[in-house]
């Protein structure tokens, strides 16, 4: 390695500091154009302001939580395949005491696994997937159903 160095010329220092200042101010720029009231509102979900679609899915899963008992197997059904996949993935984290089973996996149907689920969380669907299932609760953007499955 080379010898120690010293005495950064002021021009370089100024340059680095101006660069840091530009970058430091950049996060503030969007805040200046957004209404203050909106900025002062606390987010409802951790992804409110980064991914509105996921925020809505989060709220749906969160509102289903009281109706899925600990240890129960459940699946999530959505008409839109990508939403179904992301709902399943988020459900793993949001229902740590229960067992989510995929209804589809990477857009490939996983009906055999889903058939083992006692609870069905239906997201933004007009009719239940299993007509024989019992409605447990209607929640934001969907409903929770219970059905009889072999133990």
């Amino acid at each position: 390695m080379s010898r120690p160095t010293s005495g950064a010329p002021p021009r370089r220092l100024r340059l680095w500091l101006i660069g840091a200042l530009v970058l430091c101010l950049f996060p503030l720029a969007p805040r200046l154009v957004r209404p203050l009231r909106e900025q002062l509102q606390l987010p409802v979900t951790p992804v409110d302001r980064t991914d509105g679609r996921r925020a809505r899915e989060w709220l749906f899963l969160d509102s289903c939580r009281p109706y899925v008992p600990p240890g129960a197997r459940f699946t999530v059904i959505a008409d839109e395949p990508h939403a179904e996949m992301s709902l399943f993935m988020m459900a793993i984290g949001l229902f740590p005491e229960s067992r989510p089973l995929p209804h589809s996996h990477f857009l490939v149907p996983a009906l055999v696994q889903a058939a083992r689920a006692k609870y069905v969380l239906e997201y933004r669907r007009s009719t239940p997937a299993d007509p024989g299932a019992r409605l447990v609760a209607r929640v934001a953007d969907g409903a929770v159903y219970e059905r009889s499955v072999p133990p």
Binding site: A8, W16, F26, P46, A110
Partner: protein, 439 residues
Amino acid sequence: MGRFAWLGTLILLPAAGAPLLLRATFRRFTLPARVVLSAGVGAALVSFALTLFSLAGVAWRVAPAFVAAALLAACLSPLAAGRADPPAPERLGPPGSFAALLSALCVFAALAATLGATATSIDLFFFWGPKAQQFAIARGVDTAFLADPSQQYLHAYYPPLVTGLDALASMAGGRFSWTSAVLTFPLLLAALAVALPGVLRGAAPRTAAAAVSALAVATAAVIGIRAEIAGNGDMPLFFYETLAMGLLLRRDAGDAAVQLLAGLLLAGAAAAKVEGLAFALAASALFLALRGGTAAGAARSAARLLLPAAAALGGWFLFGALRHVFTAYSEYGPLFSLHPEHGTSIAREIPLVLYATARGLPYAVPLLCLLAAGRVDRRALLPLGTAAAILGFVVFTYLHLAADPSQWIGWSAARILAPLPLLFCLAAACASRPSPEGA
């Protein structure tokens, strides 16, 4: 209360690394830098201890994990023998104070963005969080969970540091805390802002070190906010990589103690994310090539720099192989099964994604600062060569996907190419004019 205990576990990490960093030889760093370096070493060793517990079939517990890490640090400390003087008093001056203020503002911006949910990583909810939560419930690596075919997207093989530490914090807090997990972004950015000026003082004068650190912290803050990394493994990776490279650029980087410390931080990088291994290998190889010296000396340096990472990842893959869950980094097919037909799309998409991240400013500004700084000395080859290696690794990785990787690039390029501008900042620290009196 749970959230405080969750974050408190991470704030206690300096204690785990303290038996090593308390050695007199590390007086060469400022006290704040020493505390943060101790936390970085502590985290890497706690993660390694958790891997050892998993191999031994011992349930994870918070206190034993910290004690085991501290014992490992104590065992390593004879390798860092010797004394070193504290950094010579040097006036910070108004530019240095302004740099410190800028760094503080960037940390505040990152904190505000995190609390306002504008920097949250969706990967926290898809991968990092669920795994950490499950490991906390299982009090160890839940192999049955990872081996379940329906959990294949959780990347079972992924290196263990972030999920392990998050799991340990969850055990201390009683449950996984999503809020605390996202707060690790501003927390680690603050740690970087505190430590980097002290680390770079061995590479550049105090004011220059402060200014370059402010530039690096601002770069990490803007990319972190705009690429939404709060809660995932990217900020731990930036933390480890930046500090390790800062150490290797110091004029005392030839000392065994500094190399050992850099090696432990490189192990932290390799255990934080897959691309951390590429960074550790590239940085170590370039460091050894640039240093020259005898073969025996190079072998000793290589051991200090790479054995910690080899132990961390070796233990992890041994565990995966013994439990039949994973044996290597995988998922995208054989190593040399490439799809060169995607080269054009990769070359087109990467600049677009970087431009979409704050109009490309956090990538362009450090590069412009480096170019405009004028002549750099030979040390700059280390960060610049590592940056080239990381770019090559990223392109090589994207070439593995059979389908068009455009969407994947859109998700990831802004984050995984973030080490490049950070390395440009560090290269700028080598732009100072040689002077007979030293730094």
